[in-house]
């Protein structure tokens, strides 16, 4: 059997010794150089601060993120609240006239009042800050999404509703298995639409003291620092353009 290659058995001892030597070298040099790992961790923050001073972030980055946070929060909670109200205002699922008619009237009135006016009123109640703006955005997205959504609920295919009803399904089962699967893409699409509008209005809500990048706008304009105004215009324009593009993509993939 000469075609066999005979592999020599590994030399255990040599391996252990060589690994030990390498580790000892590394540890030894670290100890000799007085390297302290805890110091690195505690010093990270200082390093970060120096980095931030080396590459300064523009002053508008904070308010810009705040604007986006406001738009996200306002849209999400407003759209979430809109769902039960939309189901109650549609005549084909829960048909209770003395709830449906006042609800629709209320939604109509809600949509006639601009978000800026709401924001100004909430500033009087909650004080200056983004909380007032977020509440105004929640109300606006709620009104918009609820209106659009109840119209889509009324336009769903009644066959699935009837099929479930004939099996004796209760209203919640009906909503879960006949309504939600049919309207979910539209629901998400309306929410994204509201988000697009909210990003734009969140950018100007600061004008009445309701937080976000609008505050910088107001200040820059009041002090006639037009180069700052231009910077802010470009920044908000690019952000809105990007978000519109993104949301149009998502919406197209849904429908």
């Amino acid at each position: 059997m000469s075609d066999r290659i005979i592999v020599p058995p590994p030399k255990r001892l040599g391996k252990i010794v060589s690994i030990g030597v390498v580790v000892a070298l590394i540890l030894g040099s670290a100890i000799f150089a007085r390297f302290n790992f805890i110091e690195v961790i505690t010093g990270l923050q200082r390093g970060g601060r120096i980095l931030a001073r080396m590459f300064p972030l523009p002053h508008w980055i904070g308010p810009l993120l705040e604007t986006l946070q406001m738009a996200v929060t306002g849209t999400f909670w407003g759209a979430l609240l809109a769902f039960p109200i939309a189901v109650l205002s549609a005549h084909n699922i829960v048909n209770i006239p003395w709830i449906r008619i006042p609800l629709r009237f209320f939604l109509n009135i809600l949509r006639t009042i601009p978000a800026m006016v709401f924001a100004a009123m909430f500033v009087a109640i909650f004080g200056i800050g983004n909380f007032s703006g977020v509440i105004a955005l929640i109300i606006f997205s709620f009104g918009l999404v609820a209106k659009l959504l109840f119209e889509s609920i009324e336009a769903i295919d009644e066959g699935q509703v009837e099929a479930l009803k004939s099996l004796g399904a209760d209203t919640l089962t009906l909503i879960r298995y006949a309504v939600i699967p049919q309207i979910l893409p539209q629901y998400i699409s309306y929410t994204l639409y509201a988000f697009e509008i909210n990003v734009r209005s969140a950018a100007v809500l600061g004008y009445v003291g309701a937080g976000g990048i609008g505050q910088l706008f107001e200040r820059a304009l009041a002090w006639r620092r037009f180069h700052e105004v231009g910077e802010l215009v470009i920044v908000s324009f690019v952000v809105v353009l990007f978000l519109d593009f993104f949301s149009a993509r998502v919406r197209r993939s849904l429908i």
Binding site: L65, E66, L68, Q69, M70, V72, T73, F76, N108, I109, T112, I113, P114, M116, V117, A120, M121, A124, I125, F126, G127, G129, N130, F131, V134, R200, A203, V204, Y207, V208, G211, F217, L221, V229, V233, S236, F237, V240, L241, D244
Partner: protein, 288 residues
């Protein structure tokens, strides 16, 4: 003969059948799909939490109860003298100014939108030019209205003209989009007929394109007018004329009876205009 005959049975089921008559049930989600869904939900949850982190809730103002109280009372007893003040500082004047800003702004944008829409229609100018036209329209649409208003205030000074210009330019974004969609969906027959007879571009525009799409154009313009009516009410916040300025002054000055009457009048006006315009639009689209 009867042996060869095998009746074919067609089943109607929710799932398609394979050649041997077994149900082809779609497989449950694969692991990758489940992972994808999980990542989507996780991402959404993270974004929502991130949004909540930024919220600065400083508690309710100490004066909030009194504010709400007087605000509620203001709606029962609104400032009626302001409603019947027929001078330049009165509510009717501000309301008329708002409506005229909306009308004039919508008119300006309807005229301005047409060339943009023509430039963005693939069936008139070809895909390359149309892509540019569409990009320009999108860019106009994304530019915030109030910032446009601020820019125009620095051009023509504070007042209604700034508001008209801001609405006129901003509405191109939406009207241009609706217009070019209408043009792209139109029948190309009349245009080709005129072209083959040697019609000039303007003749084609006025005799083949506009007559076909004008009901839609008018309907879209009216719809935009409804939106502009609301927008005109906020433009006053930055000094571009209309009912917004007295409203914001009343709110900032805590003159609730006055704020209440403005809000009430605004609601009624917007609802009336919405319904009027909806009736006209329905007639236009159905062709009387």
């Amino acid at each position: 003969m009867s042996k060869n005959f095998e009746p074919k049975i067609y089943y109607r089921t929710a799932f398609p059948l394979d050649s041997e008559g077994r149900f082809l049930v779609p497989p449950p989600y694969s692991k990758m799909e489940l992972l994808g869904r999980f990542i989507n939900y996780l991402g959404l949850a993270l974004i929502v939490i991130w949004g909540l982190i930024g919220l600065q809730f400083k508690g309710i103002m100490q004066t909030a109860e009194a504010t709400l109280d007087s605000f509620g009372r203001a709606f029962i007893q609104p400032d009626l003298s302001y409603l019947f003040d027929l001078s330049v500082d009165g509510l009717p004047w501000a309301l008329l100014e708002t409506i005229s800003i909306a009308i004039a702004g919508t008119f300006v944008s309807a005229i301005l939108s047409l060339p943009f829409a023509l430039l963005a229609s693939e069936n008139l100018v070809g895909p390359k030019v149309a892509a540019w036209g569409k990009t320009i329209i999108t860019a106009i649409r994304t530019f915030p209205e109030l910032i446009l208003a601020l820019l125009f205030i620095s051009v023509v000074g504070p007042g209604a003209s700034a508001g008209i210009l801001a609405l006129g330019v901003h509405s191109i974004g939406m009207l241009g989009k609706l217009f070019f969609e209408a043009i792209e969906a139109m029948d190309m027959g009349p245009k080709e007929a005129l072209e083959s007879c040697g019609g000039r571009p303007l003749e084609i525009l006025f005799r083949a394109i506009l007559p076909q799409i004008s009901p839609e154009l008018i309907s879209f313009t009216l719809y935009r007018f409804e939106i502009n009516m609301r927008a005109a009410a906020t433009l006053g916040l930055v000094g571009a004329g209309g009912i917004g300025a007295p409203l914001i002054f009343a709110i900032n000055g805590r003159q609730w009876p006055r704020a209440a009457i403005i809000i009430l009048v605004l609601i009624v006006t917007v609802i009336i205009i919405d319904n009027l315009s909806a009736v006209i639009r329905k007639r236009l689209v159905s062709g009387r």
